[in-house]
């Protein structure tokens, strides 16, 4: 199969089928949730997941901004790969179908879909895709430490406060239970890029940095104490996981990037 066709199929799978680790986490949450309405909502999310896969239609009407993380081989042309991805995107918009989600800011015109593509050279061709919804993007945030309002210093305790604050402010607006990517970084674009890339990690993986692994567990448990619940209507399931990336910073700067995903974290690897 040619690459364009493969990427089209990849779009279909990503939009219509939830990753197995996220489904497992939702099933577990539905078992242990003790608020009856929350339990019912989690059940419907799982029903929708199953139905979308069966009838091969997008899980959510917001098929998001297509994000690509492409590991390409030495000598391969980035421009050529970009062209193939863009053509596959147009094809997917018509025939998966995806919702046209690219709006020109000045003219207000909807022009279809525009993928965001990150390239990195590697030992093999590998493509990760994420369809990132707009609602959860709107509640994502970057904090600069120290933060006086939160009494948050330049340490992991300060990071913890930023994440709790971002989720508290999001409440139920962005389709909880959330999956939260966090990055410790010295500049704005790294805070955004690395935190979003954390959403590619499997929910049951281990952070190689022991302090961060412990912090991921701790923050996940604390977010679930907030009681926001599925859809923001109350319950003990507010986060399915928190994933934190270590980074390097300028001595003057300490940014905490927080990328929030809705429960429908649609990502796949090719």
């Amino acid at each position: 199969m040619d690459l364009k066709k493969q990427i089209f199929e990849f779009y279909r799978k990503t939009a219509n089928e939830m990753p197995a680790d996220v489904v497992l986490a939702l099933e577990k949450a539905a078992r242990i949730e003790d608020n009856p309405l929350a339990k019912e909502i989690l059940g419907r999310l799982l029903d929708n997941t199953k139905e979308a896969k069966t009838v091969q239609k997008p899980i959510c009407q917001d098929t998001g901004t297509p994000l690509f993380y492409v590991q390409y081989l030495a000598g391969q042309s980035q421009n050529e790969l970009k062209k193939i991805i863009e053509e596959a995107t147009n094809e997917a918009t018509l025939n998966v179908p995806l919702r046209p989600n690219a709006v020109e800011c000045v003219s207000g015109k909807n022009i279809g879909n525009r993928p965001v593509i990150h390239f990195e050279e590697g030992a093999m061709l590998k493509i990760d895709m994420m369809l990132k919804g707009g609602g959860s993007e709107n509640v994502s945030a970057i904090y600069s430490l120290p933060n006086m309002d939160l009494k948050a210093d330049r340490n992991l305790e300060g990071v913890r406060k930023c994440v709790i604050d971002a989720v508290f402010k999001a409440q139920g607006k962005a389709c909880p239970p959330y999956i939260i990517g966090v990055a410790l970084a010295g500049n704005l674009e790294q805070a955004a890029y690395l935190s979003k890339k954390q959403l590619l990690r499997k929910l049951d993986d281990k952070n190689p940095v022991k302090e961060l692994d412990e912090l991921e567990e701790k923050i996940t448990a604390e977010i679930n104490e907030l009681g926001i619940g599925p859809g923001g209507l109350g319950g003990t399931t507010t986060a399915l996981g928190v994933k934190i990336a270590d980074g390097v910073r300028h001595p003057a700067s300490f940014f905490v990037g927080i990328s929030i995903s809705c429960w429908a974290l649609r990502r796949q690897s090719l």
Binding site: P58, C60, P97
Partner: protein, 181 residues
């Protein structure tokens, strides 16, 4: 389970309590950011006394493919005026709305919560009827749908009770403890 059919009667709306689950039947109109500005700026009598759905669906060849709710909070600034101008009886969305909207709903309308991300289940309860302002683009156009047993939860009732407000208040206590503020 309560079942309601459009046009919604005031007496039925006033009886609903936050937390009630409802199956909705009849006609609904989608409206997002652009549509709200249009509805406030021009006259569009079709939505009079009607039901507004905060949603930007995927439609192909007049088939409803996926059509769950969008975040309602973005429409907080326009909603009280919209309710006033058109006598809107119910709004369907997700994530809740602010105090201004809670007040605007009092004594005349309700806010239903639909489950965000359940796009296929909702699409299966909907039939395409018409589209207005398609030039706004697929997500922003005003889509008219016929719905059958469309499941929603009364999240803000006409008496000012909001499930989101309850959640916010409870989470605020925990938040204060966790932040140490």
């Amino acid at each position: 389970m309560i079942s309601l059919t459009t046009p919604l009667k005031e007496e039925d709306i006033l009886k609903l309590n936050a937390g009630d689950e409802v199956l909705l039947n009849g006609t609904i109109f989608t409206a997002r950011d652009k549509a709200h500005l249009f509805l406030l700026g021009e006259d569009f009598p079709l939505v009079k006394n009607g039901v507004i759905y905060h949603a930007g669906p995927i439609i192909k060849d007049n088939q409803v493919i996926s059509a769950g709710p969008t975040t309602s909070a973005r429409l907080n600034p326009y909603t009280p005026k919209l309710i006033e101008k058109y006598g809107i009886k119910a709004i369907i969305g997700k994530g809740g709305m602010n105090e201004g909207v809670v007040n605007a709903l009092k004594g005349r309308a309700v806010y239903f919560s639909a489950i965000g991300g359940a796009g296929v289940l909702y699409a299966e309860a909907m039939k395409f009827k018409n589209v207005y302002k398609p030039e706004f683009g697929m997500p922003e156009a005003i889509w008219e749908f016929e719905v059958k047993d469309f499941p929603v939860i009364v999240a803000i009732d006409s008496k000012g009770k909001s499930l989101y407000e309850d959640t916010l208040e409870k989470s605020k206590e925990v938040y204060k403890k966790l932040i140490g503020a």
